[in-house]
């Protein structure tokens, strides 16, 4: 793999796990970890998806800006709508949005060039997130040890977006079926990423899970448009 331009907030932490890298949107993504076990993702896997392309925007004109470009805008704050290719549009507040492509999405690549300062009422929000996916049957046990929100009360179909604190870090959380795998998605500021990763993987290890590579967490995923 040629030297990628971008690096994940977790690049350093992942490097210690002896990963096999693939490049996604100019950023290395840990496809496999040396100690990946087949059952770990099913039990409790934590996967770095920071490489997925994403944009953020806010302002009174943000919703219209997205709609005008054919993006399905969620009706209510704290909900999300699906994008073709497994992506999501999360309405973080009345006038703020996060758009992230899935494994075969191309919406961000299409939208990003247009998102520049100067559009009236539309303000770009740079997104340099640490983005994770939590998979497996023990996810809720991890969540109840780290966050005071009752995620069991949320159904996947309700498409709820939760902005809360997890072990002291501001996070955005939603439940998603991604490439055939049920998972909880989690975004935080990249600078808090290493601490959150270390904390979550530490607890997950106690529960019999831990860090997993992308190929382990999403065995059916097909990466298109992103490489």
């Amino acid at each position: 793999m040629a030297a990628a331009l971008r690096s994940s907030p977790l690049a350093h932490a992942l490097a210690t796990l002896h990963p096999e890298w693939i490049e996604v949107a100019g950023m290395p993504l840990a496809s496999k970890l040396r100690d990946d076990r087949p059952d770990r993702s099913a039990k409790l896997g934590i996967c770095d998806l920071s490489a997925l392309p994403r944009i953020g925007l806010k302002g009174p004109g943000a919703a219209d800006w997205l709609s005008a470009r054919g993006v399905p805008v969620p009706d209510q704050p704290n909900t999300w709508s699906a994008l073709e290719g497994g992506g999501a549009v999360a309405r973080l507040a009345r006038t703020e949005f996060l758009v992230e492509d899935g494994f075969s999405g191309k919406a961000v690549a299409r939208l990003a060039p247009d998102l520049k300062p100067g559009s009236p009422g539309v303000y770009p929000v740079p997104r340099q997130d640490c983005a994770l996916a939590l998979t497996g049957e023990l996810v809720n046990e991890l969540l109840v040890q780290t966050c005071n929100v009752d995620f069991t009360a949320q159904t996947r179909d309700a498409r709820v977006v939760t902005l809360t604190l997890m072990v002291g870090v501001s996070v955005t959380v939603l439940q998603q079926r991604l490439a055939g795998t049920d998972c909880w998605r989690l975004w935080c500021d990249g600078t808090s990423g290493p601490y959150l990763w270390e904390t979550l993987t530490g607890i997950a290890a106690e529960l019999g899970g831990g860090a997993v590579g992308f190929a382990s967490a999403f065995p059916d995923a097909q990466l298109q448009n992103l490489q």
Partner: protein
């Protein structure tokens, strides 16, 4: 000898599994399921500990988690509650607060000196002569304390977790069990907790010689098992109530923060001791304690007992004891009419004599063992008639004279309580929404009534949450006789009639306290320390209230209760600590610093390199070398921890004019400006650099620790002002590094096509260009006083830029520098750090920031305060200083005081040795009349040494600023 009974139905012990342990060095054997107290009592060991003050022998009192005098130490483990905690194989238990063990405690001599140790004696004694105070302090430190702290004890990780349910039921006695069933049957997700190892509460042990209650418990357990939506958690304490129904549940492993939608408090009541002389002798115990010994641990509490009672429970205890071979000398009933229920007849039928209107005057112990009790008739005034005492030989005395509701959670939830004269206890008068009470805590005692009350509470809670439950009326019968006696207290001229067993407070102590004016319950609590011991007044507060009420001639209701604060029962520190999360943020360059040997320091929530370690070099050398590299060549520092904000919109300039003290509307794109932020009271709270990217787009920095607060404040302000702006906190989205030093331009030139000439990119300008192929924002600023470029790039490409700069600077001797070197460099320039050279009261004029405050603007936050303060003049002024003694060996440090005429006149905010300047320089707050240049002042350094300093102008280095404005 052993007092272990043959198998008892429902016993908690497993006789097939013996447990070996030692207590004060002697070996014993108990059973799995025993507690240390029950196993020792079974082994006929009755002195389980010593009292706190008088070192009197103490045995079983409650066996309900408040036998504080029998707390033990097990190796490194402190505060082991011997009355309830499970006995473990190989436990090496020792008594605490003794000299020579529980049975042979040499400090028991203090019991004879009690007359010299009245309540509050320590407030008045040992202060004079003053010189002896340290001696007494050492003596008392040696004598007091419960156990020996082992600093080598392993750290036990007790992860906390959150949990959620519809209904939490606290207490799994008959009321709680019925409440849980009712709510569970209505469809609610229920959590039922009980602090005891098994559920059932009094159904398991208050049997009255009958098996009926226990069989009811079996039925209830079966019913619960049929409800998968009811989670039963024994061994779990609901330790407090916090707003919005947050309840910490504490079990052996962890604390769970539970958030139920409704709470039912069915915690029952604490049985209360009677107060009479020697009511603490081993063998004197609460009736419920004797019953717990019988039915939980199959231990015969005594051979012959006197029962002192004032309610039906005492009669049940007498029957229970008799059913297990304990001879009953008599039942002494405080009430004139005795027990109105059929229990009275049953007691008489088995031949137990009942003495109505009788009290216990005193218990008599020989050695450490109860041998007799003296009983007297009680007069109409409640006082004993000592003219006709009867003495009963007995080795046990059980007391059942009343109860105090376990209402701490209700108080904490904001319940209004009243003193009920039909039950002689405090009962809920008004409960907050979503909080319910049932059973004894609700003033309901008869078993059938408790069951119905529980069902009522469970039904009401379910209905409150919207669960569909059939309409049903509940009728709780009033109590036939008060379960508590209003005055179970007997005075005795020789004292030692204890009200508080934790703190060794006897009745006379309360009279003394009241006499000294502490006749309010809160004051009395603090003066006497009643209820302040580890049991938190569970067995003493109610009697203390009764005593104070009688002293003042008012009702207990008028006396009121003390404040019930969470946690209402001690919680292990390990549980409170949990995992001990250490929240921190790392810049995108963290791994680069690691590779360079960074020594980390915490700056707010950030980890920053303090300096970069080098083999064989001390920190001070390295910091000076790093600073020297910046002055002589070029250095690179990660400043990504600065807060970074984007501000968009047509009102962006106007918005900045309001939040900062300077003017921004007229700024040209491509320029930067220093900015100071005040709060409404005019105090300096933050500073940074504002850069204008375009007409409607600003980018500005805040201090490292200020970004979150500033962002929140900006949002708050604009919620009021409603200006057309968009504020984005981009702190984590951008990395930032400062390339500084005379060779900075040469290094940067290798990586960008941007024209770096002074004309094209002058001091304080902003430019956007690629650096090492990465789009960057470059600001020519000079915090460290050299030619410098602050380079801001997207976080995910920061490492690439850092690497490129380090490589490009190789030939020019580039060196990374840390926070320590930066602090020194900026001090040489006299630049202040907000939060270090200012504090929570500093006005801009005091910190020398007058020039940055434009009061000719119509408005900015804090303007009005600044104008008011200016009328009065500053309280202090920040000045630069240098030490007169060059290379002083006793240099002052930050926060050392400036002293004038023996009074504090200021303090040092920053100080450092500057190699560049060859002297110590610093900043200090001094009185306004001490700011004259070259005037001397004194700083009190370590050890009281007075060091002379002199006011000098700042900057200390490059006063004209030529180095940072350097031209090609």
């Amino acid at each position: 000898m052993s007092s272990r009974l043959p198998p008892v139905t429902g016993e908690w012990i497993d006789r097939s599994r013996g447990v070996d342990f030692t207590f004060d060095g002697r070996a014993y054997r108990g059973c799995a399921g025993d507690t240390p107290a029950s196993a020792l009592w079974a082994a006929d060991v009755h002195v389980l500990g010593r009292s706190f003050k008088y070192h009197r022998p103490r045995g079983v009192l409650s066996l309900a988690n408040h036998d504080v005098n029998t707390m033990m130490q097990a190796g490194a483990r402190l505060n082991l509650r011997a009355d309830v905690e499970p006995l473990e194989q190989g436990m090496a238990l020792t008594s605490v607060n003794t000299a020579g063990g529980a049975s042979g405690d040499r400090l028991r001599i203090l019991n004879a000196l009690g007359g010299f140790l009245p309540v509050g004696f320590y407030y008045k004694a040992f202060h004079r002569p003053k010189a002896l105070f340290p001696f007494w302090e050492r003596v008392f430190r040696r004598m007091t304390g419960l156990g020996t702290l082992d600093f080598g004890a392993p750290h036990i990780r007790t992860p906390k977790r959150y949990d959620f349910c519809d209904v939490l039921v606290v207490g799994a006695g008959p009321a709680g069990l019925h409440a849980a069933l009712a709510a569970g049957r209505a469809g609610a997700k229920v959590v039922l907790v009980d602090e005891n190892a098994r559920i059932g509460g009094s159904l398991g042990y208050q049997r009255g010689g009958s098996i009926e209650g226990f069989e009811m418990l079996r039925d209830l357990e079966r019913d619960l098992a049929d409800l998968p939506n009811v989670s039963v958690r024994p061994g779990t304490l609901a330790a407090g109530y916090y707003a919005d129904h947050w309840i910490p549940l504490v079990d052996a492993q962890r604390m769970t923060k539970l958030r139920p939608r409704a709470v039912i408090v069915a915690g029952g009541a604490f049985e209360q001791p009677a107060v009479f002389r020697n009511n603490d002798a081993p063998g004197v115990m609460l009736a419920s304690a004797a019953q717990r010994l019988l039915y939980r641990y199959a231990v015969k509490p005594m051979d012959k007992a006197l029962v002192l009672t004032a309610n039906a429970d005492g009669y049940r205890a007498a029957l229970d004891l008799m059913a297990h071979g304990v001879a009953i000398a008599a039942v002494a009933d405080l009430r004139a009419d005795g027990e109105p229920s059929a229990l009275s007849m049953r007691v008489k039928q088995v031949g137990i004599p009942v003495l109505k209107s009788h009290c216990v005057l005193e218990a008599e112990a020989v050695g450490d063992r109860l041998v007799a009790a003296t009983v007297c008739p009680t007069g109409a005034d409640g006082k004993p008639d000592t003219a006709s005492p009867q003495k009963f030989a007995c080795d046990g005395l059980v007391m059942s004279v009343g109860w105090a509701p376990a209402a701490a959670l209700l108080y904490q939830a904001g319940a209004s309580m009243r003193y009920d004269t039909t039950t002689h206890q405090f009962v809920p008068e008004r409960l907050p929404a979503g909080v319910f009470a049932c059973g004894r805590v609700n003033g309901v005692y008869a078993l059938d009534s408790r069951c119905e009350d529980g069902e009522r509470a469970g039904t009401e809670a379910a209905r409150h949450l919207g669960f569909d439950t059939p309409e049903r009326s509940f009728s709780i019968a009033p109590e036939r006789s008060p379960p508590s006696h209003p005055w179970p207290i007997v005075e005795h001229p020789a004292g030692k009639n204890f009200v508080d067993f934790d703190e060794d407070l006897h009745l006379r102590d309360f009279h003394n306290a009241a006499q000294e004016g502490f006749d309010n319950i809160e004051l009395m609590k603090r003066y006497t320390t009643v209820g302040m011991g580890p049991s938190q007044g569970k067995h003493s507060n109610m009697n203390a209230i009764r005593v104070l009420a009688r002293i003042r001639g008012v009702s207990p209701g008028e006396v009121g209760t003390t404040t019930a604060r969470p946690f209402f029962h001690p919680v292990p520190l390990s549980h409170l600590a949990g995992r001990g999360f250490n929240v921190h943020r790392e810049t995108p360059l963290h791994s680069r610093h690691d590779g360079l040997g960074a020594v980390w320091m915490q700056a707010g929530v950030w980890l920053r390199p303090e300096y970069y370690a080098l083999p064989g070099k001390r920190k001070s050398e390295i910091v000076r070398d790093e600073a020297r590299a910046v002055r002589d060549a070029v250095g690179l520092i990660d400043v990504g921890t600065l807060g970074k904000m984007e501000l968009y919109g047509p009102d962006a300039g106007a918005f900045l004019e309001r939040v900062y003290t300077a003017k921004f509307s007229g700024m040209k794109p491509g320029t930067t400006r220093y900015a100071v932020m005040l709060d409404e009271s005019g105090v300096v709270i933050d500073d940074g650099v504002v850069a204008r990217l375009s007409e409607q787009h600003f980018y500005f920095t805040t201090t490292t620790t200020g970004s979150t607060t500033v962002y929140r404040e900006l949002q708050r302000w604009n919620a009021q002002w409603n200006l057309e702006v968009g504020i984005v906190n981009a702190t984590g989205a951008f990395a930032a590094m400062n390339l500084a030093g005379p060779k900075a331009r040469a290094v940067l030139r290798k990586l960008t096509s941007l024209d770096l000439s002074n004309e094209a990119f002058p001091y304080l300008a902003l430019r956007e260009a690629d650096v090492a192929g990465v789009p960057a924002r470059l600001m020519r600023v000079g915090f460290v006083g050299e030619l410098g470029y602050e380079i801001h790039v997207p976080a995910d490409r920061a490492a690439r830029v850092w690497d490129a700069l380090m490589e490009a600077g190789q030939d020019d001797g580039i060196r990374p520098f840390g926070v320590e070197a930066q602090r020194l460099l900026r001090l040489e320039k006299g630049h202040i750090i907000i939060g270090q050279d200012t504090d929570g009261l500093t006005q801009p004029d005091e910190a020398g920031l007058e020039w940055a405050v434009k009061v000719d603007k119509p408005f900015f936050v804090g303007k009005r305060s600044v104008e008011i303060v200016r009328k009065n003049g500053p309280r202090q002024k920040l000045v630069g200083f240098e030490l007169d003694a060059i290379g002083a060996s006793t240099a002052p440090r930050e926060c050392h005081l400036v002293v004038r005429n023996g009074a504090i006149a200021g303090r040092v905010t920053s100080i450092a040795w500057s190699d560049t300047l060859g002297k110590h320089v610093g900043l200090a707050f001094v009185a306004p009349d001490m700011t004259e240049l070259n005037s001397p002042f004194f700083i009190r350094a370590d050890g009281g040494t007075m060091v002379q300093a002199r006011v000098v102008p700042t900057p200390f280095y490059d006063a004209e600023g030529l180095r940072q404005k350097v031209v090609d």
